[in-house]
């Protein structure tokens, strides 16, 4: 592992002497993306502001190349650490190129006149983040996605080694979120930038971070690779999710399960049941699902939403016990819905289940009017 450029030492951050987070441990390494996650108000911004010296540490230090940033000159710090902040600047009569070139501030002379080299850096930064065509547009008249990229180009113009970003993808649509983070990945790699950012999009944090820091209720709760952080129900606990849940492996949310005696029994599998589980949840109909092999794509969603779920060991025919339970359970439901089209060799138990339902006239089609009328 390479040496960190920026690290913290026994750092406590907060406002005017009042500690918000104690024991902030952070080491930013070139080429790596470090992401801060945690609930609203946990103090992610407070940490980031302290790193860029917009807040004084309550105690401890932020070290840039092992030197305390508190003693660095403004210019020196600006040449090493650049930021994209949550503040949304609304400069008057400034083109995007004007905004980007303000990043040359620490390099220009007394009057801030751009040299040939400054202009070249600005041009290259704009090309790198693909905003060259916005050059002469008014900064106040571009979209949120474009604005974030222009601000990123501005930060790159400072030729920093550390890039600090506070929720850079909020307000962006999904395409621009992905574009922005892919760009960041590329920048981190090509320019050996140490990147630290806060994100609310957990799925993106999981996929784009090298290191994840979890901030909760006044402390750094966990630090680890995405693989270490996004597992089990840790994220659900980190955010104190009460209604619904977060699937750490798939990176998706499910809303709250409908409780009550199951009315519908769903025979799904291979992902075919997922839309129906979600529809039943929306309609407020409690349901049961089964029999699903434990490795089936339906299982995580069914587990989150179904009142009862019957599973069987993967790659094996469903055992007798599972079949009996499923038959009993489905018999107590007012309807059975089957979303699979073909039953494979190890799935004959489910065929029997569906045939039994058909025999007693309880087999419903997935778009049966009974489902809708229940609301």
């Amino acid at each position: 592992m390479r040496e960190p450029i920026l690290r913290t030492a026994a750092l406590s951050v907060g406002y005017s002497g009042h500690v918000v987070i104690d024991g902030v441990e952070l080491a930013l390494v070139p080429g790596r993306i470090t992401t801060l996650i945690g609930p609203n108000g946990a103090g992610k911004s407070t940490i980031l502001k302290t790193l860029i010296r917009q807040l004084r540490p309550v105690s401890g230090k932020v070290l840039l190349d092992e030197k305390d940033v508190a003693v660095l000159g403004e210019r020196e710090l600006a040449k090493s650490v650049a930021a994209v902040l949550t503040a949304r600047p609304r400069p008057e009569l400034m083109t995007c190129a004007d905004v980007v070139s303000t990043g040359r501030y620490p390099y220009t002379g007394r009057l801030g006149i751009l040299s040939q080299r400054d202009r070249q850096v600005v041009r290259e930064a704009m090309e790198l983040v693909h905003v060259t065509e916005l050059e002469s547009l008014d900064f106040n008249r571009i979209s949120d996605g474009q604005r974030q990229r222009v601000l990123l180009a501005r930060a790159i113009c400072q030729e920093p080694r550390v890039l600090v970003m506070d929720e850079p993808t909020s307000f962006l649509d999904i395409r621009h979120k992905l574009d922005f983070l892919c760009l960041l990945r590329q920048l981190a790699r090509e320019k050996a930038l140490a990147v630290v950012l806060s994100l609310h999009e957990l799925d993106l944090a999981q996929r784009f971070s090298d290191m994840v820091l979890c901030v909760r209720a006044g402390r750094m709760d966990r630090i680890g690779t995405p693989e270490e952080i996004f597992q089990g129900d840790y994220i659900t606990r980190l955010y104190g999710v009460e209604h619904g849940c977060y699937d750490a492996l798939l990176g998706g949310v499910e809303s709250e399960r409908v409780t009550g005696r199951p009315e519908i029994f769903v025979v799904g599998g291979g992902g075919s049941g997922i839309p129906l589980y979600r529809r039943l949840q929306r309609l407020g109909i409690p349901f049961a699902a089964g029999v699903l092999p434990e490795n089936d794509a339906d299982v995580p969603i069914a587990r989150a939403l179904a009142g009862e779920l019957i599973t069987s060991p993967p790659f094996e025919p469903v055992g007798a016990e599972g079949v009996t339970r499923a038959l009993e359970l489905s018999a107590r439901c007012r309807g059975v819905i089957c979303t699979v089209e073909r039953f494979g060799a190890v799935n004959q138990a489910n065929r029997a289940l569906v045939e039994a339902a058909e025999a007693r006239g309880a087999l419903l089609s997935p778009d049966a009017p009974e489902l809708a009328s229940e609301t």
Binding site: L77, A83, P91, T102, R110
Partner: protein, 340 residues
């Protein structure tokens, strides 16, 4: 694009310079004693002739005062607008002019009552003290209030209080001084002597140069305080410098010409529209020239429109300045709606 911008700025500067030259000449010629251009040139070159006293003693100091102080007001407005990130901030709206006026009035009355002569330097210092007082009050308020419109309301209120106290003081001042004080408290470029002009020139030009040297951090500050800080601006020091400079400029104006309204808001806006940029490095000289042109024009109107009766300069600047301010507010509202 860059070439086009440069061309535009050059043309605008030349235009302003030409307007300034024309207005300077017209201001010398026009007045109750109408002078021919030839005579003016002769008198300026030889300093003698029948009307030499009018030109050298009255008109030149007056027009130089109008040009210098007009420029100072606009630059002061531009600095305050940058500081507060608010286009309607200005020395008059924030109550700075009025509180400078109050302290100057108190100083004058106190000195006259004790039989002391008031030197122009004392006036400037008194005005600066007044400006700093209301600036301090505004800063205290702005630390608590994030809302810019409330800040402006506070400024206007401070202005009213100071004007009211000044009026009361003037009402009870001893008779002999009232006329003098009354004219001044309405705002006028008249009655300046060469000694005053010298002090005006030194103070205004020095502040102008210093403001120009601040144009780089000002440009960064236009992106907001946090970005400026990240770019390496020492924000605390910068803010102090900006406040001191804008206060010195508006104090100097108030000391010599009384409170003059709307120049500080209208001229920077006109210049931004004309130059199509808000870059401080261009706007500071542009505002200075523009303010000089604006005030020379307003002063010309003030003293010639109903001659021999002279209008107060503030009445004229308000008549021309207010429509500009309203136009600006409407335009901003429209552009905001356009974005939404």
């Amino acid at each position: 694009m860059d070439e086009k911008r440069k061309l535009r700025c050059t043309v605008c500067f030349l235009l302003l310079a030409a307007l300034l030259a024309v207005l300077l000449v017209v201001n010398v010629m026009a007045g109750s004693a109408r002078l021919e251009l030839g005579e003016v040139v002769r008198i300026l070159l030889n300093r003698e002739g029948d009307n030499a006293a009018i030109i050298w003693g009255i008109r030149l100091p007056r027009l130089l005062t109008a040009a210098l102080l007009g420029g100072a007001l606009s630059v002061s407005g531009f600095l305050l607008q940058t500081f507060f990130a608010n286009p309607i901030a200005g020395p008059f709206v924030l109550g700075i002019s009025s509180s400078a006026k109050l302290v100057v009035a108190l100083t004058m009355i106190f000195s006259l009552a004790h039989g002391l002569a008031v030197s122009s330097l004392t006036m400037v210092l008194a005005a600066f003290l007044g400006a700093m007082l209301s600036m301090g009050a505004i800063l205290l308020v702005s630390a608590r209030l994030r809302s810019m419109s409330l800040l402006i309301v506070c400024g206007v209120m401070i202005g009213y209080i100071c004007s009211a106290i000044t009026d009361i003081v003037v009402t009870f001042a001893s008779d002999s001084n009232i006329v003098n004080l009354h004219n001044w408290s309405l705002g006028s470029f008249s009655g300046r002597e060469w000694g005053d002009v010298r002090i005006e020139a030194v103070v205004v030009l020095a502040a102008l140069v210093l403001a120009f040297l601040l144009s780089k951090p000002m440009g960064a500050y236009q992106l907001g305080e946090s970005y400026a800080r990240n770019m390496g601006v020492n924000v605390t020091r910068f803010r102090v410098e900006l406040i001191l400079l804008s206060s010195v400029l508006s104090a100097c104006v108030t000391a010599f010409a009384g409170p003059i309204s709307f120049v500080g808001i209208a001229v920077p806006h006109l210049m931004k529209t004309l130059f199509r940029t808000a870059r401080p490095i261009l706007m500071i000289p542009a505002c200075f020239l523009g303010g000089a042109v604006f005030c020379l024009l307003c002063d010309l109107i003030a003293r010639t429109l109903f001659a021999p009766t002279e209008l107060s300069i503030s009445s004229v600047t308000a008549v021309f300045g207010v429509p500009v301010v309203i136009w600006m507010l409407l335009k901003r509202q429209r552009s905001k709606e356009g974005e939404a």
